[in-house]
């Protein structure tokens, strides 16, 4: 039965009104903002923008644009160069640094930045009330550790002092070759004293927010974007290339890739933001860039559990792993297999060779330890975490190891996958037998890798403790002679990766980012994967 004319007219009107209402709603909620000069896809919503709180590399990318320390990293090789400090003197024994601040330093709000601000920022980083996860990086400073752990209460006893408004004196416990690199880390950057005093934990919501770096915080909307605006009062503002930079917190690889393909994003950082099904195709494109950096994927043994208390067992398992297969089949971005923990490219250091794939020797060692052909070897568990965004990397590696060890050694391993928030605690309480691990260097020096396996270090997490190893690492750090230092570190690393093997490395991380070099300039690939925002710009006039 056909509808009457009246009914049809009613349908038309209803439809028109409906679309009108929907359109009005759409118009009402849209925002008007000038487009950014540069849009960067940056893997996840920042946990914080407070230099004392952040721990993730993606957060540091933004924060190092906002706040600067005595030194800063140059963009090509990521070496520490003068930042807020114009120059400095080092005492002959390498334990006292005297920094001279630039005379033209201003907060973005116009007040001068002084030596007192530097001292305040470092005391705040170390204060127990701040509870900074990264405070340990300043423990090289005299009395810093005692203050941070509450053993001393008087902040003026920390070895950082303002001699006059433009001079900061830092006293260290012992010579520290990489101290200038630490000064460039966000945790040592200079933060606004008055604003923090006034607003407390909510200080980053203050507007205008005084910053010491090349960029001001223009907007920060949760899960939407962080917008940075060029700070015209930055001492080196003349060389800041882009005016407005947007950071998009995107953790879905397909979304990141789509935005990039449509030109809605200029740069995408991180390998995690490449859809893994497309990895092989995309990595062949000229705008996808790979570069090794200071990060190692490795396996931890809990040496307090039998039979992994026997170094022969640990070495046998390490020798039975065909690492080439893992990087070719699973990681696939051209990762380099490694037999040592400290990645190649680390400044002033070349690692000794560790254990390579040798299943015959592996079987012999296992037999010597009392398990010929894997007989009598107890079943054990392999702990790993589920990757962010459904990433299956850890699971794939676990399965591969399970098969290799069964095939080569005749031993059985069970897989135990847990959420990341459960994983970290389980690992540090030593409630595991064998577990996946990784470490990204904080600064360009062997100590950032070798230091964590000192007895009782919070990041050791293997139960392993070795007096000679500790002695060698301490001795290396106590000397200012680079050759002697390298030699001691090499001896220590040999114990770690060839003799005792509480851990064994699989491969060195390969970083991937994508941007078109015809459109974007000012990014150099380096081992720290650090790219200061101030030098990045869109090439104008060509598009």
């Amino acid at each position: 039965m056909p509808f009457t004319k009246r009914a049809r007219r009613f349908f038309r009107r209803a439809r028109f009104l409906f679309y009108l209402a929907a359109f009005a709603c759409l118009l009402g909620c849209s925002r008007r903002e000038p487009p950014a000069d540069l849009t960067i896809v940056n893997s996840s919503e920042p946990e914080s923008l407070d230099p004392a709180i952040i721990t993730a590399q993606s957060d540091m990318r933004i924060v190092s644009g906002l706040f600067e320390g005595l030194t800063r990293l140059e963009p090509v090789a990521a070496r520490a160069v003068p930042g807020l400090a114009h120059h400095w003197e080092v005492s002959p024994d390498g334990t006292v640094y005297t920094f001279h601040l630039r005379t033209n330093l201003l907060w973005s709000t116009g007040e001068p930045i002084t030596a007192d601000d530097v001292v305040y920022s470092w005391r705040r980083e170390l204060s127990p009330a701040t509870a900074s996860d990264y405070a340990g990086q300043l423990y090289y400073v005299k009395n810093a550790a005692d203050f941070n752990t509450g053993k001393i209460r008087d902040p003026s006893r920390i070895g950082v002092q303002a001699l006059d408004p433009l001079t900061v004196r830092v006293e260290l416990n012992h010579p520290t070759l990489f101290f200038l690199d630490i000064c460039a880390m966000p945790l040592a950057s200079v933060v606004p004293r008055q604003t923090i005093g006034k607003y407390g934990d909510a200080w980053l919501n203050a507007r205008p927010l005084p910053v010491s770096g090349a960029y001001e915080l223009a907007a920060w909307r949760l899960n939407d974007r962080v917008r940075l605006r060029k700070n015209p009062r930055y001492w080196d503002a003349a060389h800041t290339q882009s005016r407005l930079i947007d950071f998009l917190p995107i953790s879905t690889p397909n979304t990141a890739l789509s935005l990039y393909m449509r030109g809605q994003a200029d740069i995408v950082w991180d390998k995690e933001l490449i859809p893994s099904e497309l990895m092989d195709v995309l990595l062949k494109r000229p705008d996808f860039h790979t570069y090794p950096y200071l990060g190692t994927y490795f396996i931890r043994f809990n040496v307090t559990r039998k039979p992994f208390d026997d170094p022969r067992v640990r070495r046998a398992l390490a020798l039975a792993v065909d690492k080439d297969r893992i990087v070719k089949k699973i990681t696939r971005a051209g990762e380099i297999t490694t037999s040592h923990l400290v990645p190649p490219g680390t400044a002033n250091y070349t690692s000794p060779e560790g254990l390579h794939y040798d299943p015959t020797l592996a079987r012999q060692l296992l037999a010597q330890a009392g398990f010929p052909g894997g007989k009598g070897f107890p079943r054990f568990e392999y702990l790993f975490n589920s990757g962010a965004g459904g990433l299956k990397l850890h699971e794939d590696i676990a399965i591969e190891l399970q098969q290799m060890w069964r095939r080569e050694l005749g031993i059985e391993m069970e897989l135990r996958q847990v959420e990341s928030q459960v994983f970290w605690g389980t690992q540090s309480r030593l409630e595991y037998t064998v577990s996946r691990s990784s470490w990204i260097g904080d600064y360009n020096d062997a100590n950032t890798f070798l230091g964590m396996f000192l007895s009782g270090d919070g990041n050791n997490e293997t139960g392993w403790s070795h007096a000679r190893y500790d002695e060698l690492v301490h001795a290396a750090n106590a000397t200012t002679d680079p050759a002697l230092r390298e030699q001691r570190f090499q001896q220590a690393e040999t114990i770690l990766i060839r003799d005792e093997v509480p851990i064994f490395p699989l491969y060195v991380y390969m970083g991937v980012n994508y941007f078109d070099t015809n459109k974007i300039a000012g990014i150099w690939q380096n081992v720290l994967d650090d790219h200061p925002l101030r030098t990045i710009r869109k090439i104008k006039g060509r598009f």
Binding site: M1, F3, T4, A7, F10, F18, A21, A22, C25, L26, L27, C29, S30, E33, E45, P46, E47, S48, L49, D50, I53, T55, P128, A129, A131, S132, D133, A135, G136, Y139, A145, N148, T149, G150, D201, L204, N205, L222, N223, D224, I250, S251, T252, N254, T255, S258, L259, M261, R262, Q264, V418, E419, Q421, V422, F423, W424, G425, S428, G458, N459
Partner: protein, 304 residues
Amino acid sequence: MYFLRRTLFAIPLLLVISALAFALVHAAPGGPFDRERKPASPEIEHNLKAKYHLDEPVWKQYGRYLGGLLHGDFGPSLKYRNHSVGDIIAQGLPVSLTLGGLAFCFATGLGIPLGFFTAARRGGWTDYTGSFLAVLAVCIPSFVLAPVLILVFAIKLELFPVALWETPWHMILPPIALGSFFVGQVARILREGMLTATQAEFVTAARAKGLGETTLLFKHVFRIAVLPVVSYSGPMLADLLTGSFIIENIFQIPGIGVFLVNSSLNRDYTVVVGLSLLYAVLLIALNLVVDFTYTWLDPRVKYE
């Protein structure tokens, strides 16, 4: 009177929900401050826990939390430490409400005509095509539909942006991807309702009195048939308005759906409890609205 009683009853219900959410999330293994890099000393971790009172017994923490709630304070987020839970809701809820509202408009705006016509033209090709489309809409999950929509309309045809939430153009594909399931549901429920209603005695009586078919369908049948759709709308709207983890993730929309899921993975205790309460309040309120609409649409329904 009835509605007042229902509203009052919601308060103990919300208390129970908050207590359950609080207990469950605290009972889950792991905590908000567990992370890859261990602080240099155990004191740091202890300080952090003390700062957020996580070192106290759970019942005491819950008491503190309720005290805050009385003052409208949902507490700080433990993962995003510069933001409060109030902040997260204030920034994310309007976005999720817009997305959900648009998806609701899409679902009813397309679902109701679809259901109406398939029922009115029962047995004809309109019915078959319409019913097939409705079933299809129900069967295709949003995580499949969304990438397909992006591929076709954003990447190939370049008609819409691929993601983000800025201009009206950004707000077309996400509501469609989110609402399409409900288009199918609404259409099916309405069609069913219409077919049942046309068999009612009063319809036969009206026909016998010579009432025109159009007037009959619009004025009498539809009014009865739409009731199941209305009762379905309550939970549907609550579902749509609290955001969708999948759609918000795929289109990078800054709503609260992403927080609803990620907060429990992050063990962000305060955010989990805060958002659970928000969801509960929305669900209760919308069900109340549904009941109210019922009395208005159907004079036979009365609440004592």
